[in-house]
């Protein structure tokens, strides 16, 4: 290897090595800056977390589901879901969503024994977002996601008052 190349290689090593790698990142308390598109907020947890809890996810529907067939037409995609921490009384969350208008933002509770056939009992609504002016029972507060992130989508998750899927699509068995 020519000497010049050798010296250049040493310089490259020095330059590339000046990189800190991963660093401890404090949990966010506001919507991430720069490039983030989605919703952020704080959920307040009430009641005891059921022992059979698999996970709680925050999801959003562009159009309020009209039937059970629409239940899985939510955002973010399944593979991008993040579990919500459940060991605190309140928790900040940030969920990446495509920009646009959303009719329903909610927390979906999933049973450890979740099956599609038993979705009525193994999949429940643990809470949803509504603003002060919203008087609907199911909550239909419109959330508009812009290219800079939409903050303060705060709501309550009440494990003592979760609603089964059939509540929205009766009859309940």
């Amino acid at each position: 290897m020519p000497r010049g190349v050798f010296r250049a290689a040493l310089a490259i090593v020095a330059a590339l090595a000046c990189n800190d790698g991963l660093q401890p990142t404090p949990a966010p308390t506001t919507c991430p800056k720069g490039g983030f598109v989605g919703i952020c907020g704080t959920v307040t947890l009430r009641g005891a977390v059921p022992r059979n809890t698999s996970a709680v996810y925050i999801i959003a529907y562009k159009v309020f589901p009209q039937s059970r067939n629409d239940l899985f037409n939510f955002q973010p995609p399944l593979q991008s879901l993040n579990q919500l921490p459940l060991d605190r009384q309140s928790e900040f969350y940030a969920v990446t969503l495509p920009s646009g208008r959303y009719e329903w933002v909610l927390a979906a509770w999933v049973d450890k024994a979740f099956t599609l056939a038993g979705a009525d009992t193994t999949l429940q609504v643990a809470g949803f977002y509504r603003d002060g002016a919203d008087t609907t029972a199911a909550g239909s507060s419109i959330v508009v996601v812009s290219d800079s992130g939409t903050d303060s989508i705060d709501f309550v998750i009440d494990f003592g008052a979760m609603q089964r899927v059939c509540t929205y699509f009766p009859p309940c068995p």
Binding site: Q23, L81, L84, L116
Partner: protein, 726 residues
Amino acid sequence: MPLTRVVARSLVALAFLPLRGQAQTPGAVYGTVSDTAGAPVADVHISTAGAAAASDAAGHYRMTGIPPGRAVLRFARLGYRVRQDTLAVPAGDSVRLDVTLRSSRFALEPVIVTAAKRSQLLDQSATSVALVSDSDLARRAVSTVDEAVDKAPGVLFLNGQVNIRGSSGFVEGLGSRVLLLVDGVPANEADRGGIDWDMLPLQDVQRVEVVKGAGSSLYGSAAFGGVVNLLTRDVPVGFHGRVRTTAGAYADPPDAAWRFRDYVGGLGGLDATGSYGTEVIRGSLTLGGRHSDGYREQDRSDQWEGAGKLAWHPAPGTRVTASGSWTSHQYQVSPPWCERGQCDDRGLAFQPFRIGTSDTGAYTRSDKGYAATTVERTESAEFAWQARASWVRTHFTDFNPDNWGVANRYGTELRGTLRPGGDSDRALTIGLEAARADVTSDIFGGHAENEVSAYGEGERRVGSVRLSAGARVDEIGLVGGGLAGQLSPRVGVVWPTRSGTWRGSIGHGFRTPSLAERFPSLVASGIRVVPDSTLVPETAWAFELGNAVSLGSATRLDAAAFWTEARQLIEPTFFDSAGVPYIQFRNVGRARLRGFDLSLVGRPFTPRLETSLAYTFLDARDLGTDSVLAFRPKHLLTLAADYAFRPFSVGGDFRYVSRIERIELGLSWADDPRVPAAVLDLRGAWSRDAWSARLLVTNALNYIYSLTPGTLEPVRTASVVLTWTY
């Protein structure tokens, strides 16, 4: 010296004097072969009348059975001047002879066996080949095969999945687009199509050949993006032994907020190899084991391994080889790292060294091995043939969740090589292969697949240009179903000129979907993964143009531009049916992978200093979505330098991997903590007689990074490797 001691010694000497007329006991010669820089030289053929031996990786040799008296020893190795020494060999005793070999005036090309399925010089290959020699393996003191392959130019591991020029990306180890061979025997898993890198103890590997680009014209399915061939050690004549022990420790996380244990994590291992050989029959056996506490939470592993090789030379030009290995690996499964709220996160967005509390207890036992028998015969200078039969078996048992699977691959091959005129101007390789793969698993069900193949490739020299052309036909199908054909042609050209040796090739590659991709039946995160019996093989056309040139007497440059067009790529896809979500492997992708790689090896200041630089630029596009192809970093740079002075040497590697631009699968990567990788490995060694000691510090800067979502690459690890060779 006191008189009594002189008398005693004389009496002892008299007692051992040979009696007149009694046959004299043969003697032995041992020693070390090194180069002018003091570095050990392996594979030197040492011969004298009636005896022969070869030096090992530490340069040590021992030759027994030498008639006493004056003996002429000849030391020969490609790339070095032949040396002859005369010495007196005592009867029934041994004498030491250390020699230094000088490089030959013209560096000779290494011989490779993978690119054309026959022996050829490296500069006669129409495709790019990267080599990892036994001296590379010894110098870097690595412990596993994947560590040995990882630093080869153009090769990158993503959480255990090998990529050659970005071939595989990352699909959780499923469906490798690189074919693993052990002495030419296909060794990919029969069920998942992945690679078990721990199938063979590294102690038994003599060198590794990495063929880049589509190689299906000779190797069929899985050689979509390249071939890695592990070539095991030849068994030398005489008694030989090697014991290698490793002990080391993992560094703590660099930040106290990431600490996850209150003790120093350790690792250690012991491997022992013994062999005995005559001119007719030779055998070796390797046994070993290793333990690691891991460098993150729930990362302990224990491994036991064994390998053996038996070679029989019943007649000149004929060799029968039986070889095999078995590895049992028990390891804790380290799931994706803990994100906010899944563990004691200490107020951080993610804890890369910890796992979620709901994931504790996952544990896997993975057993794997192979057995192969090969008969090779050289009928004449013009014709040679070989036949082989092989069996590869993998067996895994997952605990929490409980899953299991057993898979087998039985293979056989008959190959002939014709060299009209007995020279290297013309060569023809033809062969037939047949294989059967089966799986029995609670995840993948019970299925079996057959494949039958025929291939041929010819090469001819026209003037100074070497032209090659060949093709392979594969008929593959499920047992009980029909066979589907694949035709994989390849043409190549090699043209030596004043400006270096040019090479070019166009070849076809394909990969049949693995049984695991076709027949999965499991639930992942509440979503059912469903089978797709309509999957068809993914295919690719690969083009390459390269040049290898010597720059002065001590530097060699190899550069190649490559372009691969891939179709029907098999990828996991999310879809919903009647509102119900599913995951299924589907033929969805079209991709283009193009770029260039460059390798520069030389000794810039002194023969004692060897340096190398390897760089790969990759432009990988998903043509279906017109976006960057996932898990393909654009830049891959490897720098290495080693300085040797008599018994000492020091050196290091630096590897840079640019930030991965796009990821798939498990997109829940909190705060998207993607960073480039910049890893420095340092090493030092001392070698004397039968002993060598090596100090290795990998990831010396304790650089914390991740290449796939939720996984953590190894932290700084310091280890000492002691080797004794007989």
